[in-house]
Symmetry: C2
Subunit: 318 residues, 2 copies
C-alpha cells in the first residue's frame, strides 16, 4: 500500500531543529537481556522526547498564512508543539486537562505556549481544540494520526538503521501509533529485513486488540498505567493502516514489568528513561521479540526529577 508519509522529506525539513541523538549500547544491559540491544536515545532529544520530530515536521509543513497552532496533550506532545511553534514564530495554544500535572504544565508554558484548561477533561478536549482552531484560524496538530507527524517520528528509526545496519528487529512503545508507524515505514524503506514490534501497556491494549481483530478497537475506560505516554484508548486511522500491514506483533506489558525494565535501564546505562520507554525493554526481557541484534527507540526521559531526587536518603554505612 502507498502511505502518505515521506520520511526523507521529513528528515530534510527538521534537520536543523532536532538533535541527532546518540545510539548507545551497554554490556551490562546486553548481558541482562541475552541479546545485543542498541538504544536510540531520544531522552536526549530537545524537549526530552522523540515528539519534537513529528511536531516540527508538521509545523514546518503548514501552509503559509496559518496564524498559529493548537494541540491537545498533557505530556510530551504538548512540550514538543510548544517548542516547534516558538521556533517557527507561531503562537501555540495547548488544550490540557484541568487536573494536568503541574510540572508538565509549567514545562509547556516555559516553551512559550498558552495553556487552556478551564473545564477541560478527556472527553471534551479534542472538541474544544478543534473549535478553537476553526474560530481563530489555527492549525490543529494531531499527536499521532497525521502523515507529517508519522514521518517525523520515523526519522528516529532512519537514524538508528544508519548507525546500526542489519538489525533483526526494532521495538518501540505504542500509544496512538505515531512512533511505531514511523519505525515500520523506516524499516520498510531502509532495512526491509528488519521486523518491527510494538510494546503496549497491558492496561491499555487498544493497538494489540485492533491488530488482532482487524478493526480499530476503542477502549471504553480510561486506562490506568505508569506508562503515561501510552494511555491512548484508540489508535489512529492512518497508524492502524500502517501497522496492519507492517507490524510483526505487539506485546502487552504490565506496570511491574515496566518498572523493573526501567530500573534495569537506569542501572545498566545511567540513562533516565520514562516508564513508556521501558515498555520496549520489558517486551525484550519477556522474550516477545525474536532476534539477536535488536534496536529500541527509547522514547523519552520526562520523569519528575525532583520527586526522584527527594527519595535519595543518607545511608549510614560508609
Amino acid at each position: 500500500m502507498q502511505f502518505e508519509a515521506d520520511l526523507e522529506a521529513a528528515r530534510a525539513r527538521i534537520a536543523d531543529a532536532v538533535v541527532r541523538t546518540p545510539v548507545w549500547r551497554s554490556d551490562d544491559l546486553d548481558a541482562a537481556l541475552g541479546r545485543e540491544v542498541w538504544l536510540k536515545c531520544e531522552p536526549l532529544q530537545r524537549t526530552g522526547s522523540f515528539k519534537l520530530r513529528g511536531a516540527t515536521n508538521a509545523v514546518r509543513a503548514l501552509p503559509a498564512g496559518v496564524r498559529g497552532v493548537v494541540a491537545v496533550s498533557s505530556g510530551n506532545h504538548a512540550q514538543a508543539v510548544a517548542y516547534a511553534g516558538r521556533a517557527a514564530g507561531l503562537p501555540v495554544t495547548v488544550v490540557m486537562n484541568a487536573d494536568a500535572n503541574a510540572a508538565k504544565r509549567a514545562a509547556t508554558v516555559g516553551y512559550g505556549a498558552t495553556v487552556v484548561s478551564d473545564g477541560v477533561d478527556p472527553t471534551n478536549r479534542e472538541e474544544i481544540a478543534r473549535d478553537l482552531a476553526e474560530r481563530e484560524g489555527l492549525a490543529f496538530v494531531h499527536p499521532f494520526d497525521d502523515w507529517n507527524v508519522i514521518a517525523g517520528q520515523g526519522t528516529a528509526t532512519l537514524e538508528l538503521l544508519e548507525d546500526v545496519p542489519g538489525l533483526d528487529a526494532v521495538v518501540t512503545p505504542i500509544g496512538g501509533g505515531g512512533l511505531l508507524s514511523g519505525a515500520a515505514l523506516a524499516c520498510r524503506d531502509a532495512s526491509p529485513g528488519t521486523r518491527v514490534y510494538g510494546a503496549e501497556p497491558a492496561a491499555s491494549p487498544d493497538a494489540q486488540r485492533s491488530l488482532a481483530e482487524g478493526r480499530r478497537v476503542r477502549l471504553d475506560y480510561a486506562p490506568s498505567t505508569i506508562s503515561d505516554g501510552a494511555r491512548t484508548v484508540q489508535i489512529g486511522e492512518r497508524t492502524f493502516a500502517v501497522l496492519s500491514e507492517l507490524c510483526a506483533g505487539i506485546s502487552l506489558v504490565n506496570d511491574d514489568a515496566a518498572r523493573a525494565a526501567m530500573a534495569l535501564v537506569w542501572d545498566t546505562t545511567k540513562l533516565l528513561i520514562e516508564p513508556t520507554s521501558a515498555l520496549a525493554i520489558a517486551a525484550i526481557s519477556a522474550g516477545s521479540v525474536p532476534g539477536e541484534r535488536i534496536g529500541v527507540v527509547l522514547s523519552g526521559g520526562n520523569v519528575d526529577a525532583g520527586v526522584l531526587a527527594a527519595t535519595i536518603r543518607v545511608e549510614e554505612s560508609v
Copy 2:
C-alpha cells in the same frame, strides 16, 4: 614540585580496559547555570564510576608474583577493584563494613570478589585489610593515596581537556582527593591556564579545612551526607601535597544544594548521576567557580535504581 603520578603512562596502561566516556553538554543545563558546562560522563564508565581508572592502573602496575588484591570500600572503589582484579586474573578480597548496603555488596560479589565483613566497622577495617594483605601475600590498593590511583583518575580529565580545549576551569567532587588530584595534574600538564576546583560536602569539610590550615585536618566524627563517595575524614598525604600546590579552591555544598543539583542534571541531561557527582554542579550553581567555560567530571551514577523506580506512580491526569 615533582609528583610521582605519571598520567600518560596510566593512559597507555588502562586504554583497553576503560571506556573513553563521552563529553556531553546540554543547552538547558547551560541556561540554568549561566555558563557553558561540559560534562565528562563517568557514570557511563564500566562499573558506573571513574574509580575503574585508578583501580585498573594500580592493579596493572603491581609487580609480578602478587597473589591477589585487597581493598577497603563499601562503594565504587570496591566494585572497581573487583572488576580490575578479575580482568587481571587476580583474586580480590574487599573488606566492607558489616552493615554495608546490600546492593553494593551484591555488585561487588557480582564482579567476582570475596567480601569480608564479619566484625568490620569503619574504625578497624583498614587494619583488617592490611593484616590480611600481609598474612596472605596480597597487594593493598588504597582508594586514593597512591600515585598510580591518582594517575589513573587523572586520565578522565586528560580526555576532557582533549575534547574541549581552553576550559577556564575544571571542577570535580572531592572525598579523599584522588579524582581532584588527578584533575589538577592533568591540567598542569595539558592545559596550564585551566584552574582546578573541588566541591566537598559541608558535613565533611576535611579537604577544605586542610587546605585552609596548611595541614591534614582529621575529622573526629563520621560525616553524615547523601554524597556517600565523599565522606572521608582525612585526605591523603599525596593528595594533600598535590592539592596544596595546584588546587584553586574547594567549595562546601550542603545536602539540599546537592539534591537540587542532582535533580537539575537529571532533568536537563537525562543522565542519572549519584549525589557525589552533583557536588560539582552545586558549586557552579552557587557561583563558587569563576569562568565562562567550565568542565565537570561527573564521577559516577551508582544510585539505587530499584528504589527510585518504585517511586514512579500512576498519575491520573492524561
